[in-house]
């Protein structure tokens, strides 16, 4: 199998997964109890006419999908209806146009709100991920190299403890500490900053980003340390390391040229698989620090019962993770030559 076949297969699979998520996302909101329409318009002050108007506005008067009026299997609907006029196809059609519906709470298009917030999340994940990988890799290598020394045990214990920290709790503790040490208590910018010059605004934002990123880094570095440590321990007991040593290479050369790339392979896989969990962490961090990102949006949507927002947020998160996963697969194929010629 050459690299292109590998990439093509991965691309097809990612596409398939996205389709699966799109379908899942639609039906999840229709199957589970609490019809979003009724949830959203439960306000007793609304007249039946007003409710009907809202139903029409959100397209909830249409059948869910051809032949099925609602998800209740005992209430089969008409099959003669135009398939293009069902909720599902309207949903897909809107998705293709980039429309995710109107937020119940903000009364603005969900895509617009999420679009603004996506970048904040990418900023948080990007910074946190890079930092945690650097810390994890460096300490993982040190720990494996100096196996069975106090340094190794220190890294091991730190890694295990960091690994078992609940993300939101660590955030709360850091926030608590930060609030008494002059750190901002949340959000992305100090109110009134918008009139300041760009550079001051940027500094202000980074200041706000510091504690969320720190939380992210601590939570994920533990796992990366441990993975890197055990993967490198495996690599360092391989025969080709003995060959490298017999070749007269120095310890540094062996680590750099023979161990690092091989030891990184499992880490790349882990990072790829981890992306889904990463998002879980981001929801918690963003809710604790009121960082205006996707995870925070999801959290707010839950508490406000803002279903279009919840639906759109989940979809965007899921698709981002699938795409990021695809990128990680590509990276792996460049790192490991065995993938190309399997």
């Amino acid at each position: 199998m050459n690299r292109w076949t590998y990439i093509r297969n991965k691309a097809i699979w990612s596409l398939f997964t996205i389709i699966f998520v799109v379908v899942l996302n639609f039906f999840l909101f229709r199957v589970l109890p609490g019809d979003p329409a009724r949830q959203g318009i439960r306000d007793p002050r609304l007249t039946p006419e007003a409710i009907e108007a809202i139903r029409i506005r959100f397209g909830l008067d249409k059948p869910v999908i051809n032949c099925i009026q609602t998800i209740n299997p005992f209430r089969a609907g008409s099959c003669e209806i135009n398939p293009l006029d069902t909720q599902f196809f309207i949903y897909v059609k809107n998705l293709l146009r980039g429309e995710l519906g109107i937020s119940f709470y903000y009364n603005r298009p969900v895509s617009e709100i999420l679009g603004e917030r996506l970048w904040n999340t990418i900023l948080l994940i990007g910074g946190g991920q890079i930092l945690s990988i650097i810390v994890g890799v460096v300490f993982g290598i040190l720990s494996a190299w100096k196996a069975r020394t106090p340094l190794d045990y220190g890294v091991l214990v730190t890694g295990l403890v960091a690994w078992s920290l609940p993300t939101f709790w660590l955030g709360i503790i850091l926030l608590f500490w930060g609030s008494t040490h002059g750190f901002p208590i949340g959000g992305k910018a100090t109110p009134g900053m918008s009139s300041y010059p760009f550079f001051a605004q940027l500094t202000d934002m980074l200041w706000h980003l510091l504690l969320p990123t720190l939380t992210y880094t601590i939570v994920f570095m533990g796992e990366y340390m441990l993975i890197m440590r055990s993967s490198l321990l495996d690599v360092l007991s391989e025969d080709y390391i003995l060959t490298a040593k017999a070749k007269g290479l120095s310890t540094f050369q062996i680590l750099k040229d023979h161990a690092l790339k091989n030891g990184m392979l499992p880490l790349v896989t882990i990072i790829a698989i981890n992306l889904g969990f990463t998002v879980g962490g981001v929801i918690q961090i963003e809710s604790v620090f009121s960082w205006p990102g996707l995870g925070g949006a999801l959290f707010e949507a839950v508490s406000r019962r803002d279903f279009p927002m919840l639906q759109g947020g989940f979809l965007l998160i899921a698709i981002s993770v699938i795409l990021a996963n695809f990128l990680a697969d590509l990276m792996y194929s460049y790192l490991d030559p065995r993938v190309q010629t399997e």
């Binding site: 997964t17 055990s230 390391i241 060959t243 040593k245 790339k261």
Partner: protein, 639 residues
Amino acid sequence: MSIQTVEIKPIIPSASKNFWQTYRQSRLGIAGLILLLAILLTAIFAPLLAPYDPKSSEGVGAGQVYNAPSAAHWFGTDDAGRDVFSNFIYGARVSLIVGFFASFISVFIGGTIGIVAGYYGGRTENILMRFTDTMLVIPDLPLIVVIVALTRPSLLNIIFVIGIFGWTTTARMVRSQTLAVKSRKFVLRARAIGAGRAHIIRHHILPLVMPILVVQAVLVVSVAVLNESTLSFLGLGDPTALSWGQMLNYAFARGAMSTGAWWALVAPGIGIIWVVLGLILVGQGLEQVLNPRLNTHHLMPSRPTIKSEAAARSGEQVLLEVRNLSINYINEGQAPACAVEDVSFTLKEGELIGLVGESGCGKTTLMLGLLKLLPNAGQIVNGQVYFKNKEITTLSDDEVNKVRWRGISIVFQGAMNALNPVRTVGDQIAETIIKHLPDFDSAKIPARVTELLDLVGIAAEHKEQYPHQYSGGMRQRAMIAMALACNPEVVIADEPTTALDVMIQAQILELLDQLRKKLGLAIIFVTHDLGVVAEMCDRVLVMYGGVTAEYAAVDTIYNTPLHPYTQELLKAFPDLTKPKKKLSSIPGYPPRLDDLPAGCRFAPRCPAVFDRCRTEQPALHELAGELHVVSCHLVEAIK
């Protein structure tokens, strides 16, 4: 959050030691067990331990909101004036209940899918694993949040949702373990016996998948505990079951931050960490039992050489001289294992010496000792190695690095593992030139690599390929090319032909022989195969149980051997010139290096054994005339 991703490689547990004995060695595992037991007992005896009823604010006034820790309230009080300590104790119940039941669901689903996919293979496996991969990529916490938000937040719902979305890693892991077990020959043997699928799954697959499943279950519990607390913190918990996550939710949302009530925030967090850390540590301990990781690797320094009085040297002009070399393996709490004892030999320019012995006789240790490549536990306890009159065993790492490969290079056995899989073969050869010949014109290196590959019969187009694209024979040739890259004077060939087909083996041997003649190399040829040695060596050193059994010119070894081991070994060797001859075998087995017999190491298997052999180790007797060294009491008479 991401404990699910911990990688447990498929392994075949050995039923070697009793479970508890091995587990006990893992300090982390013990710590985890203690943490878990403590919290488990707390949860079970919550009504006895809690000073206050968790639901009512009995004994606590409305004015006692966010009271600091005191004798009456060890952990202070919360936003409604309830006792944090009591809530903490009852919170353990919720966490553990959700954790255990949810993980039961996950492990059951994951285990079933994994075993079915792994054992049945084919289309079934394809579909199941595609589905698993899809579920694995979909971020589970957002999905759980969405589903719980859409349903009624009850404990039962939470258990089900967490359980139903937590099985993917288990499925993957169980599948790869099942595949690993299935590919083992004992499963094929069971099929050959006539066993059906049900029998094989029950008697051969399950017993070997179960341990992995247990480790996995422990880790899945910790994920479930974390997920539950996160859901509760996000306000999606069961309002009737006050869990740690919920305590944090209330405290965080109801002003604990602004009032500075740190106790309301810290206590529940400690509870979560306690349980999760305990579970992870127990997981580590269990893994240690299943897959006892080697505690050493090749970059760990070996023990320093014990300097010894230099014995008189032979005085001959030789390239390499090994004098009375002894190497021990030292493991804490065990008697040192004498892997090599008092071995001496010399090597002249262009000479080929054969080092023969069965597995575990110390021949590889001896070779590694020559270049100070011993593993962590290895120690040179006596003797010297002179290479061009320079003593090597006491050199520093930097000084030895100059001798390695430049002066003495090694062709390792099993070249698949001895070559780095992610670097091209050409690159790995070039690396040695760059390291040892800094004056070499870097523009000419590619040409030199091509030349070296050509020397061993590999076409230049394979230069940019990776080891896995080579066949076994080609890898061994590439390894030889690499060994020659810096024009060494001595090449150690450590079983270079083991595991190769007879014809490829013959090709490699001929190649080595030609190179020796062409380049004037001195070769130490390590092997278990007496026939190979007879074909090409000048001198032969036969090792048994770490000591020299016999050392002489090749003709002497084959035609007038004096050590009973050499004699018996020759009889066990099939001789095509006399095909009808019955083979004789040596009864018994070679000794283990950590359990050597008191006297002569061959005594338990020797046909000519007498009393003295069992108590006294024979000295190395040097016979008069041509070089012939034998360590056997019987030789004294001849001498």
